[in-house]
Amino acid sequence: METNIFQYGFIVKGLLGAIFASITAGLAGTYVVSKRMVFLSGGITHASFGGIGIGYFFGFNPVVGAAVFGIISALGVEYLSVRQKIREDSAIGILWAFGMAIGIIFIYLTPGYTPNLMSYLFGSILTVTNADLIALGIMSLILILYFGIFYRTILYISFDEVFARTYSSYVNIFKYITTSLIALTIVLNIRMAGVVLVISLLTIPPNIAMLFTKVYFKIVVWSVLAGFVGTATGYAISYFAGIPVGATIIFTLVIIWVLAKGLSQLILKISKVRNIAII
């Protein structure tokens, strides 16, 4: 009986985790992929590890430390590349490794055993707390509202910043808010997929969606769906096979991407054949 209740809670947790992860990653990921910020997002992810280390050392929630580090590094890249004229990819490379270095130093200095360190690196649903789930749920809501209310403003700034500046004085504010929200999304999803793998959670679903549509709004919808299928399936496989959940989710998503790629090629071929037949 006890096992059943345990299993039930486990399934609910996994399901909610999959739903929230796919909503947040789908919304943030479409923005990241469309705007070609994948490398920046990778930098944010790894830089946030510094916050995790500091959290361990000073004994507060590492996710909070990671969130602070994530946002600072996201805005720091902008500052270094725009104000200090450092090449953006170099700035990302510096902050990426600097965050990791801080994390490693502080975890080393933390006395005794560091619990759940592996779960931050590679993700684990077992260590996801209710608070983590609630945070991810709130983040889903914030992102839906933010992208829902400001859809066109965000879309147009991201498509053509120079033109957007001719009618809006809010371009920079929107850029900073969006980048910060993406940093937060990444950090909250670290619990699911881990520092090393979380970037794929953002990039694979939009790439699956883009095989079938090139319209921003539709990419978001299909990303969330593809993300959910991949995350839930990966989670189930990892549960039954007893293998790490983060890695299984990413593996599943890549398999879906490969299958989708094949399917889109097939659709293309069929429509060509049909066109020829009509002619």
């Binding site: 403003t153 991201s158 921003y216």
Partner: protein
């Protein structure tokens, strides 16, 4: 004739580098002005000042209320400003021209969408309304961005190097379209390519740190005599030519 804007002793600089100096320039309602001059001469800076993207270091720019109310300035930037691989449709791009009059929380109404499809039809892009930008040719993109610039019914249309879009077949149509638009809005067209500037342009402004305005592009006999010797342009064919007067300053 109402002035759309007036620039008085306007200077602009980037840091310590002065790009424009003591510019006096008035644009009227039905003007079609070609802004010409060498690269780095300050043509784009002039547009930035009009758009409010750059604050003048000295002098003033005074807009007519009609232009200011609702930000009635349409702008066709150089092609390079938008990401041509971005997942955005032709209709969405044209609609973005209405953002000038809308706030940051903007819903496009069905009348906005009607307006967009009317502009898209007008520019001969009907079949491409749902296409994404990377499916278009250079000339089609130019028309889409022109649509974005004119959907809000601007009083003043600014064009930055429209000749950069390579689509010879559409070039003529494009200038015809501008001529038609000139009936309801003033046009300021920047070009470094003086050789192929449209014959519909009514007057010229030469920008090279200073601005010299040439009210008309017709050269009279008196103008020719003022050169001090009889001059003659030698050319083949029937290409119309424009000879501008020497700058007096």
């Amino acid at each position: 004739m109402a002035h759309l804007f007036e620039m008085h002793s306007l200077s602009a600089s980037y840091g310590s580098f002065t790009v424009l100096e003591d510019v006096n320039f008035i644009v009227n309602e039905s003007d079609f002005i070609g802004v010409i001059g060498p690269n780095g001469g300050g043509k784009t800076t002039l547009l930035k000042l009009i758009l409010g993207l750059l604050k003048p270091s000295e002098g003033t720019i005074i807009f007519n209320n009609d232009v200011l109310n609702g930000n009635r300035i349409g702008y066709l930037p150089q092609l390079s400003t938008g990401d041509v691989n971005y997942p955005v449709t032709v209709t969405d791009i044209v609609l973005s021209g209405l953002m000038i009059q809308k706030g940051i929380i903007s819903r496009m109404t069905s009348s906005d969408k009607m307006k967009a499809s009317k502009v898209i039809d007008e520019l001969g892009l009907k079949d491409l309304a749902g296409a994404t930008i990377n499916e278009l040719s250079g000339g089609q993109m130019q028309r889409v961005f022109l649509g974005r610039a004119i959907i809000g019914d601007p009083k003043l249309l600014l064009l930055d190097e429209p000749g950069n879009f390579v689509d010879a077949t559409f070039e003529n149509d494009f200038y015809e379209k501008l001529k038609e638009l000139n009936n309801r809005m003033a046009i300021l067209m920047v070009s470094h390519d003086v050789g192929t500037i449209s014959s519909h342009i009514k007057s010229f402004a030469c920008v090279n740190k200073n601005l010299h305005y040439h009210p008309s592009h017709e050269i009279t006999n008196d103008d020719l005599l003022s050169y001090g010797c009889p001059i003659q342009l030698i050319t083949h064919g029937e290409v119309p030519h424009t000879v501008l007067k020497y700058h007096t300053k």
